[in-house]
């Protein structure tokens, strides 16, 4: 009676191992809804990866650190994973960031992301031995230091000899051509920062770089160590190991003109009404922006949003590999589908395949075989 994510365990774990083995120093990203798996499960899985023999040189540090998105997420992972936790949202002198900073038990494991000079000073006043990465602003223009800002950091750090710099972080926009030249340009700013000598001054944390881009950068900056932060590619990289199913809860025959549903709609033709698990509470029927900026993409989004205005709209539920129509907008935990006469009618208890965005879906159950 649930929306279920079924994971082909052996296949998934093999993919995780292979990905980690191919990326020495990998930092798994465990944030948001935990990519559909849940934060806790991914934290345990990261611990498992850290214990694997991946054939890396000692000191590669693969999976010795995981990344969470926010300070609020730390609680979900801290007990399940024993290594360091880097928070991707930049540290600010307010809110949960301060609670986490003041927590003595966490202090040794927590790696803050700092993107403003005043924050760095503030953080080091509160915790002179804080661990942190310096975020360099990229073309994304989200968070982080400018070149000049980074140049000033060197001085602040020399005034705080106890501060523990773990590296410089760069968060690139999703593929828009190659990032190699931008990354190289930003690395020149890192050289200009004259950071205190040590591993931290030579470690760069990057997101969204392809393997080829990473290899190109490593060749151009051989004395730097690049740590790849990876979420989607790691956890969801082997799609064929994942399947999502909904359960048929009820099946009702419907004649043309019959009234049904919350909103008293009328059936346009005869067929069957299916009530299946999976509704707005799971994220079904709610559109996350797809990033498709083309006319067609925008039109499709509009159509899905305007579901109750005209006719039926395609649902993510499929029967016999054909996506079926919503009979009305999804409810909180269930959806009503319309099945026209002539289609095979599933029985109560049957499972339907569902196409979802994992990062925007909450599953009732996750079954790893």
């Amino acid at each position: 009676m649930s929306l279920t994510l079924t994971v082909d365990g052996p296949r998934w774990r093999e993919h995780l191992r292979r990905t980690a083995a191919a990326h020495p120093g990998l930092v798994p990203v465990v944030k948001g809804n935990g990519y559909g798996f849940g934060l806790g499960r991914l934290a345990r899985r990261t611990q498992w990866l850290a214990e694997q023999d991946l054939g890396h040189e000692p000191g590669a540090g693969t999976c010795d650190t995981l990344a969470v998105g926010t300070y609020d997420e730390i609680g979900e992972v801290a007990q399940r994973f024993g290594g360091s936790i880097v928070v991707l949202t930049p540290w600010r002198p307010f809110g949960t960031a301060l609670e986490a900073t003041d927590d003595d038990h966490l202090a040794e494991r927590l790696v803050h992301t700092v993107g403003r000079l005043e924050d760095l000073r503030d953080l080091l006043e509160r915790r002179p031995r804080a661990r942190f990465v310096l975020e360099r602003m990229t073309s994304m223009q989200r968070h982080g230091f400018t070149a000049r800002g980074l140049w000033s950091v060197g001085e602040v750090l020399r005034a705080h000899p106890g501060a523990r710099l773990e590296g410089v972080a760069m968060h690139f926009p999703l593929a828009h051509g190659s990032h190699t030249s931008e990354a190289s340009r930003l690395l020149t700013d890192v050289v200009g920062a004259e950071l205190p000598e040590g591993d931290g001054a030579r470690t760069v944390w990057v997101s969204h770089l392809s393997d080829a881009e990473l290899a190109g950068l490593a060749a151009r900056w051989p004395e730097y160590r690049f740590r790849s932060r990876m979420g989607t590619g790691l956890w969801l990289g082997e799609r064929s190991a994942l399947s999502v199913t909904s359960t048929v809860l009820d099946v009702h025959p419907l004649e043309r003109g019959d009234v049904f549903g919350y909103r008293g709609r009328t059936a346009p033709k005869s067929g069957h009404l299916l009530v299946v698990t999976g509704g707005t509470a799971h994220g079904i029927g709610l559109e996350a922006p797809t990033g498709d900026l083309g006319l067609r993409g925008r039109a499709a989004t509009l159509a899905r949003g305007g579901l109750d205005a005209v006719g039926f709209v395609r649902s993510p539920f499929s029967i016999d590999a054909k996506q079926r129509l919503f009979a009305e907008p999804p409810h909180m935990q269930a959806s009503m589908l319309f099945l026209p006469t002539g289609a095979r009618v599933p029985a109560v208890g049957d499972l339907l395949d569902v196409r979802v965005r994992y990062t925007a879906t909450t599953f009732d159950r996750v079954v790893v075989t």
Binding site: R185, T188, D189, V191, A219, R220, P222, E223
Partner: protein, 396 residues
């Protein structure tokens, strides 16, 4: 130079205007060093281009200088303003805009469609041993594949700033650029604390073959005669040039005419004499039993000494005249208190089968460092003409 030291200074806008060559020269002479391509004399060597001595002024004080060569676009009264290995300014300033914007504005007013310059700042260095290992390692293709001994903070900040100020790096891979080389080979003549090295220390840094060859030349009785001042240099020039033309034939490059060298000697050595420095430009002629076996031209401006041109005979290679001439130039530079002996350009390729690698190997034997400079940068002032010029250069 500490970048922190310059940051405290207030950023006042600078004024750029033409200055008399004498003021230009006096300014350069008051500094530790500058590229010889930035001396007024060099402008006279490049007589086919219009030249201008520029001064950068903070209030009334001359704080920087540039030799600008204006290269005319074919058939148009528009120019590329070229500042080779310059300008001579405080590159450690974190506000380079206050130097470069008035420079660009001045060049635009002079009819320039673009400015090209070569900031004389180092970005990275590699040891001779690293370069040697790199050539031996098949996995290493370019100098940049090796972690450098150091990356220079000032150099990095210059590169960062030029990017953000709209300048474009004129990069080349695997060969020489049309302009000045971005990678050179240099032998340091002072230690890390800037204390002068002695001859033994410089010899000791060389590889065994170089040391052996220098010894061999001395044992064979090779004598190196070094000129002083304009007259002696002019007198030695025909001998140098004859051997240089011979070298060009053997090594398949196009020699420059004798008149080019005469102009160079008169301008550079002449400028030296004017300053009471008879060794600004020197010819070194290595002879064995009366036969000229090698000849070179050396230039020194302040603490920087360059090996500029070289020629060698095909006969009597076993007496190692080239090594003798190189050693004479190095000793000369040491005696003059130079900080660096510069063997000039190398390519960044380290592939053992590349045609340029022999040149690197020769220079690496001196035990110095491969040095990466910031390279040459262009600022387009007129986008249409600049693009036309780039196309023209690419097709040349």
């Amino acid at each position: 130079m500490s970048p922190a030291a310059t940051r405290a200074e207030p950023s006042a806008p600078l004024r750029v205007q033409e200055i008399p060559p004498a003021d230009h020269l006096a300014f350069l002479d008051g500094r530790s060093s500058a590229s010889f391509l930035q001396t007024p004399a060099w402008g006279r060597v490049k007589a086919e281009w219009r030249r201008e001595s520029l001064g950068f002024f903070a209030g009334d004080e001359l704080v920087g200088a540039a030799l600008v060569l204006y290269r005319q676009l074919p058939r148009l009264k528009r120019y590329l303003a070229y500042v080779p290995e310059g300008p001579v300014i405080d590159w450690g300033d974190d506000d380079l805009a206050r130097w470069l914007e008035p420079l660009a504005a001045h060049c635009r007013a002079r009819g320039a469609f673009g400015v090209r310059m070569g900031p004389p700042v180092v970005t990275a260095r590699w040891s001779a041993q690293q370069v040697k290992d790199g050539i031996a390692d098949d996995a290493v293709r370019r100098l940049g594949d090796l972690a450098p001994l150091e990356r220079d903070v000032v150099g990095a900040r210059v590169v960062s700033q030029l990017e953000s100020l709209g300048w474009r790096h004129q990069g080349v891979e695997g060969g020489f650029a049309a302009g000045q080389p971005q990678f050179v080979f240099q032998v340091p003549l002072v230690d890390d604390d800037a204390a002068p090295l002695d001859e033994d220390a410089v010899l000791k840094a060389m590889n065994q073959q170089w040391r052996r060859n220098i010894k061999k030349a001395a044992k064979a009785g090779v004598e190196v005669q070094s000129t002083s001042g304009v007259a002696e240099a002019l007198e030695a020039l025909p001998d140098f040039h004859e051997l240089y033309v011979h070298t060009a034939e053997r090594d398949h490059f196009t020699p420059r005419p004798l008149s080019y060298f005469r102009t160079m000697v008169e301008a550079l050595a002449g400028e030296g004499e004017q300053l009471g420095q008879p060794d600004r430009l020197r010819l070194h002629l290595a002879r064995h039993e009366g036969d000229l076996v090698a000849a070179t031209i050396a230039i020194r401006v302040g603490t920087h000494a360059w090996y500029s041109y070289g020629a060698s005979s095909t006969e009597k290679r076993d007496v190692r005249g080239s090594n003798a001439a190189q050693w004479a130039m190095m000793r000369d530079a040491l005696a003059a208190g130079a900080h660096v002996y510069d063997l000039r350009g190398i390519t960044d390729t380290l592939e053992a089968d590349d045609s340029h690698v022999g040149l690197i190997q020769f220079k690496v034997g001196t035990g110095g460092q491969a040095v990466e400079y910031a390279g040459e940068w262009d600022l387009p002032l007129n986008k249409v003409l600049y693009r036309a010029f780039s196309l023209y250069m690419a097709r040349r």
